[in-house]
Symmetry: C2
Subunit: 205 residues, 2 copies
Amino acid sequence: MMHPVTMRESKRRGRRPAGADTKSALVAAAMEVFTEQGYEGATVRAIAKRAGVDPAMVNHWFGGKDGLFAKAVLQLPIDPEEIIAEVTGGDLDSVGERVVRRFLITWDSNGGGQFAALVRSVASHEMALTGLRELFITKIFKPVTEYAGGDGDPMFRANLVASQLIGLGVIRYVAEFDPMATADIETIVAAVAPTIQRYLTGKIT
Amino acid sequence: MMHPVTMRESKRRGRRPAGADTKSALVAAAMEVFTEQGYEGATVRAIAKRAGVDPAMVNHWFGGKDGLFAKAVLQLPIDPEEIIAEVTGGDLDSVGERVVRRFLITWDSNGGGQFAALVRSVASHEMALTGLRELFITKIFKPVTEYAGGDGDPMFRANLVASQLIGLGVIRYVAEFDPMATADIETIVAAVAPTIQRYLTGKIT
């Protein structure tokens, strides 16, 4: 375990940069603390203390507890802020398309292995589930739903969006049903985007 | 292991009926053979032989290998023929509604526990996955898609229907996201039925 001062000193002596040390110390500590305390119980303060770094470093490197959980523990290839910026930047009439395309490009990127690993992790660990709910629903789907501005409960709309995307991921990456497993992205976007568009902006009652 | 003749004799002596014996012998044998051989490798003949009963009994009691797998091994509360009859019996304009309502009534029936158990089983056993693909896609979704008569590849449409329903099940029964986990059936039917209707009969390209 390293103290930040030590790391800053080690940088001056020309060893590997302090940033990388802080980051990897935080990741190691996060895995331990999330496992011991669960998602809800784990605090940024406890993780930073375990890593021997300033709690502000968690925000600096991972944008907070969610990001640390997503990137370090689940090793997800996503950045909530980047996704929201992309999805909400553009014509509201084509938000469904952007959501589906972003989803497929993200999870296709490594052959779908990370989506399948995530599903298995969720199926066996309550911790992962709580973290995911927080991450996906609160940090991604709900902000996108609010941006879209459909009437009624934004959380119900967020749940609908999540249901279609999660099911799509299960069919394409976990169950690998044909032809969905091998269909090209734009074929799926054409079929599924109107669903997401309606869940975000259309009539759902 | 009992021979059918023995069972028929035992019935005459006033013990429990032969049918129940045959059925439970088949279920026990099926669990063994599916586990040993996997879904593809397991044959009706091998299961019947292990149970010491006539292979015709598999069709009689379970409607074939799929049914035996679904009812005995996965203990699913479904009968593909009954579902297809219900879903295809009625106005084509409301098929989406019937599919979503049947899905929710089926899996709500025991508090969603069986859907969650199924997902966990699929996440950990390749056998369960192959069996499910065969059962759901081939025996249920594809016949329903063909009945609906949308243009293009019926398997792609079947995959789309499956993706929305599986995701809905994951959100409602496994992840238990609010408000989807507690929403009443008709609220969900109103929101999701148009999606299924389009996947079955509408424009998807």
